[in-house]
Symmetry: C2
Subunit: 115 residues, 2 copies
DNA sequence: CGTTTGTACAACCATTTGGTTGTATACAAG
DNA sequence: CTTGTATACAACCAAATGGTTGTACAAACG
């Protein structure tokens, strides 16, 4: 299965930036396991509701979570596809290293190279 | 093969933060393919030598590149292992999602679960 | 209705980031 | 030894980040 819609530099910036914070990584982890409202999330961190709200906004801008309304709450859910895209960026770097002496053409032409 | 020495939150912060910049990702890419001195790197970016020096420092703090002296130059080389560790963090997130309805106990106890 | 709960958003603030220039030092080359 | 090159590092600056408080509004509740 291939998810890979190519990401712009700015999008990649946002994804890694969003992941570069413990609280935000924790929000992703939690909402990956089970969606939660912003206030449910906020209850578990030692900071204001508004601060958590901002963290969720950063994650949403990065596409790592989606938000949808349910009554007066906003339900947050992590997007595993976006996490997979981030992982794929690192995989591509690693592939680059593995093939660093080789000719990229062959790798691209190789019909066994898929994901 | 297991690389996984567990990373602290601060270390993970540094790794993702370091990757959240186009210039730094490009430096990683380049020095993954072929080591380069700081001035060789600096020549290719539209910013001062000092700015590139700082980017390399951020990458070094994150463990994504290593620097070693060669005469008067400082040779920069990307560390594929650290990139693999970063990837593994995302893989673990994805696994969490995959197993989200399952009982974690069983997974931990399963003798076939190894890496 | 009025009250409480959940969210949005603006204004503000300290710190960090990403860039600059300038100065100092180390090594290589004449 | 002198000169040029590669690097280090400090000081500075604007903008972004990560937090705060306060205000406003919408939905659920009594």
């Amino acid at each position: 299965m291939v998810v890979q819609t190519d990401l712009s530099d700015a999008e990649v910036d946002r994804i890694f930036r969003a992941l570069a914070d413990r609280t935000r990584r924790d929000i992703v982890r939690r909402t990956l396991l089970r969606e939660a409202s912003v206030s449910e999330l906020a209850a578990d961190y030692d900071m204001s509701f508004a601060a958590v709200q901002k963290h969720v906004a950063v994650l949403k801008e990065a596409g790592l979570v989606v938000k949808h309304p349910r009554g007066r709450q906003r339900i947050v859910r992590a997007d595993p596809d976006q996490i997979a895209r981030a992982r794929h960026l690192l995989v591509r770097l690693e592939e680059l290293w593995r093939d660093r002496f080789g000719q990229l053409d062959d790798v691209l032409a190789d019909p066994t190279t898929q994901e």
